[in-house]
Symmetry: C2
Subunit: 252 residues, 2 copies
Amino acid sequence: MSKKPLILISNDDGVTAQGLGVLTELMRPLGDVIVVAPDGPRSAASCSISPLDAITVKLVREQAGLKVYQCSGTPTDCIKLAMDGLLEKRPDLVVSGINHGDNASVSVHYSGTVGAALEACMKAVPAIAYSLRTRSQQCDFRPYEDVVVETARYVLGHGLPEDVMLNVNFPEVARLNGTRICRIGRGRWMKEMMKVGEGEYRITGHFLNLEPDAADTDYWALDHGYASITPIQLDMTAHTWLDELKKAVVSG
Amino acid sequence: MSKKPLILISNDDGVTAQGLGVLTELMRPLGDVIVVAPDGPRSAASCSISPLDAITVKLVREQAGLKVYQCSGTPTDCIKLAMDGLLEKRPDLVVSGINHGDNASVSVHYSGTVGAALEACMKAVPAIAYSLRTRSQQCDFRPYEDVVVETARYVLGHGLPEDVMLNVNFPEVARLNGTRICRIGRGRWMKEMMKVGEGEYRITGHFLNLEPDAADTDYWALDHGYASITPIQLDMTAHTWLDELKKAVVSG
């Protein structure tokens, strides 16, 4: 077995997405690469899994240091399948993306790109999600390549704290103004359902930034030409409210 | 328009699930009730949405103070559709469940029951997710009815902090030992993919509790016959690691 680092890649735009291809080529100099990605678009799959379905997987490309599988499931299914069924050893790093569309602010909750990285994090594998704020399926990813490679190298070398992953977002610019470490900004999707027929709707909507002037948020960074790097944790407990709740509610 | 509180209900087990029916009957004395639930099981839907599909909705039951809609989408789609397309005013409370199966520890990330409540939370509506640790689709919910009604009444009366929801789990017992305010316990699903054919898998697995002796966790509460009430927040930023990351990574 190779002594190089093993890097597992997934995404939510599907195995043929340009961003996945770019991420794969960027990771190959860093280690052996296995791609396990959905067989079609799974945008907004969040951390969903497919407990009711058979999940099929097919090897679609193999060459020295690279295997690419397509999977009928969600991004999270892909990571579970890779780690429990396909890989001969634990990966040293999981990277997800590069998503076509940003995953800043509350979009972290809907994102299958982030979902795949969270799944790796739950399995104690260092993980990074990469996303580009774009509406296009064909993009120039060259302005972001250095940040992708540097962050992956950093995490391969240093690891990440327990139960923490990185969420990296890029603005669509010819040249980044720099990189910023950010918290998740507060925001909200508005007017999300468009009636298209009797009892029939489609998802649409626009994003409302609830703190547009907060320069420490991921959304601000993207709005101002910076790449955002946000550490995300598995623990969603509202710790600051635990004691207040204990006083408020009768507790056994 | 009625002056009673408006309570919106959803779930991930589908509109015909027993737990949804029980929750609906428990909420009716507290206000006007609108149910918008998936037309079939959407277990483990997480916060997923359906941006690629037409979402259809149908009124399947109507009587004084109650309307029930079934929807072709996910639990999160149901909440979006209710708030953007079906309701005439903002709900005062969103409740989700009662799920057949617990949503403690990392299962909060996969749960469509929690996903529906998180969606309400993102839209600034107080929300509670209810789940029962059971493998059965037909259960005796009577031991949990008081806690369901009390928590809903409390939240209707007092609201919840901004960007926080409640995740309530019940153990399957004849009589609860009490109610505990808990943090989310650390855990991990193991050996989750079962090979059922050539290139074909099904989701299975068992849960590993990484801190079985931690009496402040949701998982411990369920293991010891208590209902757990866990405040969950939208913000997944790993705040304690922001400064360390700023030192570690070159920041623009």
